[in-house]
Amino acid sequence: MPQAIAAVNDFVVKFANVNGSGSASANELFARAILRMGVPVSPRNIFPSNIQGLPTWYEVRVTEKGYLGRRGGVDMMVAMNPQTWAQDVKEIEPGGYLFYDSTKPMPASMFREDINIVGVPLTAITNATYSDARQRQLFKNIIYVGALSVLLDIDEKKIQGLFGEQFKGKEKLIDSNVKALQLGRDWVQQHIDPDAVKLKVRPSNNVGDKIFVEGNNAAALGAVYGGATVCAWYPITPSSSLAEAFQAHCKRLRHDKETGKAKYAIVQAEDELASIGIVIGAGWNGARAFTSTSGPGISLMTEFIGLASFAEVPAVIVNVQRGGPSTGMPTRTQQSDLLSCAYASNGDTKHVLLFPEDPKECFDFTAEALDLADRLQTPVFVMTDLDIGMNHRLCAPFQWDDTRNLDRGKVMTAAELEAGKTFGRYLDVDGDGIPFRTYPGTHPTKGSYFTRGTTKDEYARYSEEGPVYVRNMERLQKKFHTAARIAPQPLRYSSPKPTKYGVIYFGSTSPAMAEALDHLEADGNHVNALRVRAFPFSQAVEDFIHEHDKVFIVEQNRDAQLRTMLMADFTLDARKLVPVLHYDGTPITARFIASDIAQKLAQLKVVPFEKAAS
């Protein structure tokens, strides 16, 4: 008998499926049921660039402590895809469990001796009950959820409750799903020892008032609350669901009650060139506008982003980052667009980036980005990624302060112009580098100007004079410093003990980092941490680096892009910043971070031979 991993509310179940088989909703049902028992879960989709027939995985981390990063390793594999069988079986931790469809006998060579095998004849059960092919396919998924619910002690009432919510008003569907669930439960209860699987879910109350939502949905809602009225986009994974969610939210929240008319405009553009062009046109004309896209879209947008930066037009771009160009890896997650966004376009351009850690910050930062873009009159990027964007993540509930008004920044009104207030479109009136603007059509004789890229003086008059250009560029630099002050500030987490080691991280690395810090601390590796939330970096980031001898920079890209930006912004000794890099397309894990940093710390702590000898 192999050993058996025993764990309560702390394990990883991975589902291996074929995409297009209806497994996604069954797997989500599984995760939600555990959540309803008060136990935090962190599910992740791992899917191909495909709609039907290719392998897809859904990994659910059950985590009493609320560690929402990917843990790494699999305690139970629900192997529903013959195509990936070998790979899936290999991935199970020793002492872990393989759950499979045992309808057809399989040779012993297909299994492993160091894992526990749980076979349920899913196909046989399904085919004995259903004759319709589609029903067979869909209910087989529910049957395995039923079987797992017995094995893992998941409360069947919670699952039934979820059916009730999902199929509200369609009683027939509720009944048929409950029946399928029961088929799976009955078979296991009759044939399998209740202790065969020692991974158990026990009711808890660690979920609290948290919400369970995808980052794309959250960002879309942030755009509604942030007052975006124009959205232009082009479909691209993993960002498409953001624009679609914006449409769905607007349909509910943004129609005039009396006339039924829309207080928003959404255009699915012909490409990303047009999406950003529409956003810039709307921003220039005083509407709040945004686009959502991913890396290849950013590449196409770069010329326009430069124009918006030089012409000082507000624009918000949500970049749901993925892996590289073309197709395939792009359905996997990365943080590899930092440089391409921070310095997008020709000429001396630098842009404001915000780094949300979870759906809550996707909501907050998208709304905030719309304010910042107006205040700074420049493009602002919300740098989310596939891991946050397309997975349900447990996070703090969204909040809104009803006294908050949309901050439209320095906009000169007709009354101010009429009263004789001096208007210079590119004139810095109060030292923050931000000039006043007017919306087109404001005043019959005052305040109009011609918008160009580079070639203008303080009053928007055409000028190719060198000193005039330099003055403008220095003002833009000053504006960038202002951005560092008003953008979200970094958050610091201090080790209980003083230490000369620090770690800087950002975005979706956050949950894995929080867990890794606990592991490191438990092992006596004391590290202070700083989560960077925006570029340009504030003074606090430089101070943090100077405070430590070595600072690990944890990123999900190959080229240590954040580190490059830190090196460019501050005067630093390159040896001081140690990259910790993960970029295989899977979300970074606490295990990886903790072990990589621990190894590097061990090397640092080795006393050089000569010194030891002397």
Partner: protein
């Protein structure tokens, strides 16, 4: 030298229009284009059209791409906002601007390189979206600002200034605009003010995607023998289908036009277009016939001008999107932000 401002003093005898402005109030900065450039004639026609339409100058938004033509918005209606965007992408910026404020008058100015080459995609899509605008291509068949390369509208077989023959097919923007769904499509010639000014006025009054292809000879690089977009060639090959008289909806004076010589088309907003027939019978509201006539002209080497196609009851982008009557850029926090109560309910749905 666009920073040379024109003197602001106006002659007291200049006639004011109903909006209280003289023709000079619709002028812009001094043109920096070459002397004799067709584009300047088009700018002058735009100025005349705006003056005659009694438009409030600041209610115009001028947008352009990059190229000689795209410099032109600086030279007309100086009291309005303008935006010199990036090459070939003016249509998307104008679409966004239009979405933000449906109440302004949108004037897009582009060239043949800007619209038929680098910007062909955006050109097509702004037409099919029905953005309420006047889109003018100052079409000279050549890249002026980069000194004389062929553009995609140069006719096959035409000869460049350096003596090279164009071996590629030309793109006919008029045909394309009709095909893509523009609801007002006309063509004219920069040197034919009598035809051009009423066309621009009618286009500006049209509540949908209005496109004007204006042949505009380039005096520097495309005004020689062998060019099919020179003054001489166009004058010889211009076949005007109709003359246009434009009457705004609020004016009821129609008696000055001889019945029998004109067809009247009433537009969606009540304004009236009179098409004076020259030559054959031509029905501008027949899309298929319009396509056929334009293609026949191309084959015969004629520049068919006039109002080529008109849908008198167009639906524009805002109608299609069913947006509120107020401009989107005028909506405030109360209109846009659903507040914390709604958010609490949304949170509950995510549990």
């Amino acid at each position: 030298m666009t920073y040379i401002a024109k003197p602001r003093l106006h002659h007291p005898s200049l006639v004011k229009n109903k909006a209280g402005f003289t023709r000079r109030d619709y002028e812009g900065a001094v043109s920096t284009l070459c002397a004799g450039c067709g584009h300047d004639s088009i700018s002058a026609a735009i100025i005349q059209a705006c003056y005659e339409l009694d438009i409030l100058p600041h209610q115009v938004a001028k947008l352009s791409g990059i190229g000689c033509s795209s410099k032109a918005p600086t030279y007309f209606v100086g009291a309005s906002h303008g935006f010199n965007t990036v090459h070939g992408r003016m249509p998307s910026v104008m679409t966004g601007a239009n979405l933000a404020n449906k109440d302004l008058i949108y004037m897009g100015v582009s060239g043949d390189g800007d619209s038929a080459s680098i910007g062909l995609g955006q050109f097509a899509h702004i037409m099919r979206r029905g953005v309420n605008m006047t889109y003018i291509v100052m079409n000279n068949g050549v890249y002026g600002l980069t000194k004389g390369q062929f553009s995609a509208t140069a006719d096959k077989g035409s000869i460049s200034k350096k003596g090279v023959a164009n071996s590629e097919e030309s793109i006919d923007l008029v045909s394309l605009a009709i095909l893509m769904g523009a609801t007002f499509v006309g063509r004219s010639f920069s040197g034919d003010k009598n035809q051009l000014v009423p066309l621009i006025k009618a286009a500006m009054d049209h509540k949908g995607a209005a496109f004007l292809d204006v042949i505009s000879p380039c005096v520097a690089f495309n005004n020689h023998a062998g060019s099919t977009k020179s003054y001489e060639y166009v004058r010889e090959h211009n076949e005007a289908l109709n003359r246009l008289d434009f009457i705004e909806g609020r004016e009821e004076i129609t008696t000055q036009y001889e019945p029998g010589t004109a067809t009247t088309v009433q537009q969606h907003d009540g304004s009236i277009l009179r098409l004076r027939k020259l030559g054959e019978e031509y029905d501008a509201s027949d899309k298929v016939a319009a396509m056929k006539r334009v293609q026949e002209g191309l084959q015969a080497g004629e520049v068919v001008t006039g109002l080529l196609y008109l849908d008198p009851t167009p639906k524009d982008l805002h109608q299609n999107l069913n947006t509120v009557d107020a401009p989107l850029n005028a909506l405030g926090t109360a209109d846009l932000c659903p507040g914390s109560g709604v958010l609490d309910r949304i949170n509950a749905s995510f549990r």
